[in-house]
């Protein structure tokens, strides 16, 4: 299958901190790809670069054939994104926020689409509450809905399950599995290894900005390894 996302020798330096250090990887269409790493390993920086929010210091990256540095806006038009911090605008209600996203993305039938998300993620009773008054979990549901409401072919999602209770995690995991079964692609950043092992078809491990490993999850199973122990052994070696 053709890669939907390709990263070549990518670097990002902030002052004297190297957040991403010469990383190369690719993600094929229809994959549920997990970018794993401890806190501060460069996962969020990678997602920001791949969605054209910040510019790389070196190397290059393409998403859906678009150069992220030159065509960042077009990348954000075509993909869905859940940022690290759930930050919907404070003074719009949940429903208004989805309408706002719909208006910016020029999506038709937003009220109907929004209702489907309120039902799926079970927060219809909060749709007219201001975002600033929503709990973290509900804000995360809202950010999840805005990322998928336009049914993108690729979604880049940063720690999407972290504020959900176990029931909601189950709903979301099922949704993500169905999503990739329909031929679309997920680029998931997380440090919850059990979730990655359960969901992902392939993965990469970042540590201190450097790529330690990249490959299919199935390769681990063939070697009789589990992701958590493999991850810990690699990261501890540094």
């Amino acid at each position: 299958m053709a890669p939907v996302l390709e990263v070549t020798d990518l670097s990002k330096v902030y002052g004297d901190v190297t957040a991403v250090d010469h990383v190369s990887l690719s993600v094929e269409e229809g994959a549920l790809f997990g970018l794993l790493g401890p806190n501060g390993s460069g996962k969020t920086t990678m997602i920001k670069i791949l969605t054209g929010q910040i510019r790389p210091t070196g190397g290059s990256a393409t998403v859906l054939g678009l150069n992220v540095e030159r065509e960042g806006l077009r990348v954000r038009e075509r993909v869905g994104i859940i940022p690290e911090q759930e930050s919907p605008p404070s003074f719009l209600s949940a429903m208004e926020y989805l309408e706002f996203v719909g208006a910016v993305r020029k999506i038709p039938d937003i009220p109907e689409r929004a209702e489907r998300w309120f039902d799926l993620l079970e927060f219809g009773d909060k749709k007219h509450v201001l975002c600033k008054d929503l709990s973290r979990g509900t804000r995360q549901k809202l950010m999840f809905a805005q990322a998928f409401i336009h049914e993108p072919v690729l979604a880049l999602i940063d720690e999407p399950l972290i504020n959900f209770d176990p029931i909601m995690q189950d709903v979301v995991k099922d949704y993500l599995a169905d999503y990739v079964r329909s031929g679309r692609t997920i680029f998931l950043s997380t440090h919850i290894l059990e979730v990655a092992e359960e969901l992902c078809s392939s993965f990469a491990i970042l540590h201190r900005g450097r790529l330690l490993h990249s490959g299919p999850i199935a390769d681990l199973a063939e070697k009789g390894l589990h992701l958590p122990e493999f991850f810990l052994s690699l990261v501890r070696k540094g």
């Binding site: 954000r76 940022p83 911090q85 605008p89 404070s90 208004e96 007219h128 201001l130 008054d133």
Partner: protein
């Protein structure tokens, strides 16, 4: 108390130095000192046109407004930091996690604001004046007295804002009644004594005729106001489950004639629901302008006929240009990170919202012209005011992008802003004083203004947005 106070001071320093670098920020008081020092040498020239007492009065008014602004900014700090840095938290809002009472924390906050901004603004200004006094022949006692009364002016502004905002949180009606009572009391006193109300401003009274009893009385009033603020203070309440009707979609349709209607509609809803629109109109627009009007009316006799109206229209324009900060200060690009929105698109939409808000200064100047019996000059005065505002707002957008309220403390930015605005202010003062109708020519300012907007869009698209 000292521990929390010192940490709040450190926190305030770090907020500023993180935003624009330690050296650049450390130079800010040096610049204020330099302006005051060099400005002192211009006093003999100014005194030939305006009496020194009027100059002193205007300086006191400036520091009163500085107190208003610092007080307002401090109380809104947490929301602003959250918008700029994500999940930021200030010590002021730590009552829920520390074993300290809200009132104790607020007391430290008041002390911190007073001391911090004293060293940032007031002391450098007073020190510059004092340092120049041996060369300008100003008696040292007078220079020291000015420093004292400027501190009191600044603190008057701070404590009025603290008191009104503490009242506003408890009861909006009580806040408005207090504003009315304060205005009525001051106005009544002015009528009874037959004096311009500005001359009754207590710190200025103290400067004009120092006495220990006046100083004691003034300090007591300020202490009582601070004490009432601290007693009444109540931090923001926890989240509510109030339901709001859907107003975004109809509003988008109403502003469809503007560029980026969804973004403009969101800004308008933000202004309305956050209370920023009303709060800023009161604290950052109407109150400062009413104060300026009183102080400016003292120099009316030194201006050409109708000069006062046009001078006021220009000052209103400059103050109205800060409405660009209203629409940017509670918004950071991070909120748009997951949407196909460029920084340039945001700047354009903010300028569109800013342009809509210009109805406020236009109506205000129209009313002033009507009330002062200069209805014939409404059109040129409004055109001058709005043109200056658009130009100054656009310069701000060019220099600061989406962060005008934080970049103002960058010495280079502030200096460039003051020069660019100062030149235009000087030119159009002369033009309007020559003939009121010549002020209509200020529409040409929309050309450099629009150029600045275009340059801002290009410039700020080329850098990683703040807040990431």
């Amino acid at each position: 108390m000292p521990e929390l106070f010192l940490r709040m001071m450190k926190e305030e320093w770090r907020i500023h130095s993180t935003m624009f670098g330690q050296v650049s920020f450390a130079l800010f008081p040096v610049m204020i000192f330099g302006i005051a020092f060099m400005g002192s040498f211009l006093l003999p020239l100014l005194r030939s046109a305006i009496p020194s007492s009027d100059l002193a009065l205007m300086t006191h008014a400036l520091f009163l407004m500085l107190g208003f602004m610092v007080g307002g900014f401090g109380l809104l700090g947490n929301e602003m930091m959250n918008r700029r840095f994500g999940q930021a938290s200030l010590l002021t809002y730590s009552a829920r996690s520390l074993p300290l009472s809200e009132h104790f924390i607020f007391l430290n906050f008041v002390a911190k604001d007073t001391v911090y901004y004293f060293f940032l603004w007031v002391f450098p200004f007073g020190a510059g004046y004092i340092a120049a006094s041996p060369f300008t022949g100003t008696p040292l006692f007078q220079a020291l007295l000015l420093l004292l009364t400027l501190v009191l002016s600044f603190m008057s502004g701070l404590c009025v804002v603290f008191l009104l905002s503490a009242l506003y949180i408890r009861s909006k009606r009580a806040c408005w009644l207090s504003v009315l009572a304060l205005g009525a009391g001051w106005g009544g006193l002015a009528i009874l004594t037959g004096t311009n109300p500005a001359l009754l401003f207590p710190p200025f009274l103290l400067y004009s005729a120092f006495s220990w009893s006046t100083l004691f009385g003034l300090c007591t009033i300020l202490a009582v106001m601070f004490a009432i603020s601290i007693v009444l203070f109540s931090p923001e309440t926890a989240g509510t489950t109030k339901h709001y009707p859907n107003t975004l979609a109809p509003l988008i349709r109403r502003v469809a004639f503007l560029p980026n209607p969804p973004l403009v509609a969101k800004d308008l809803i933000d202004l309305y629901r956050s209370g920023i629109g009303i709060g800023q109109t009161l604290f950052s627009f109407l109150i400062p302008l009413v104060v300026i009007w009183f102080f400016l009316s003292l120099v009316g006799s030194y201006l050409p006929p109708h000069g006062l109206l046009f001078m006021f229209a220009m000052i209103t324009g400059v103050i109205a240009s800060t409405m660009y900060t209203w629409v940017t200060e509670f918004d950071a690009f991070g909120s748009y990170a997951c949407l196909p929105v460029a920084v340039s698109t945001l700047i354009r939409s903010k300028i569109a919202t800013f342009s809509l808000l210009q109805v406020i200064p236009a109506v205000f100047i129209g009313l002033v012209a009507t009330l002062t019996g200069e209805r014939a000059y409404i059109l040129p005065a409004v055109v001058l005011c709005v043109s200056i505002s658009f130009y100054a707002g656009s310069v701000m957008a060019w220099l600061c992008g989406l962060s005008p309220s934080v970049l103002v403390y960058d010495v280079k930015v502030l200096f460039t802003y003051l020069i660019l605005d100062g030149v235009v202010f000087a030119i159009f003062s002369a033009v309007a004083f020559a003939n009121p109708f010549y002020a209509l020519s200020s529409v040409v300012l929309f050309i450099p203004g629009w150029w600045c907007v275009k340059a801002a869009m290009k410039r700020w698209d080329a850098v990683d947005p703040a807040g990431f």
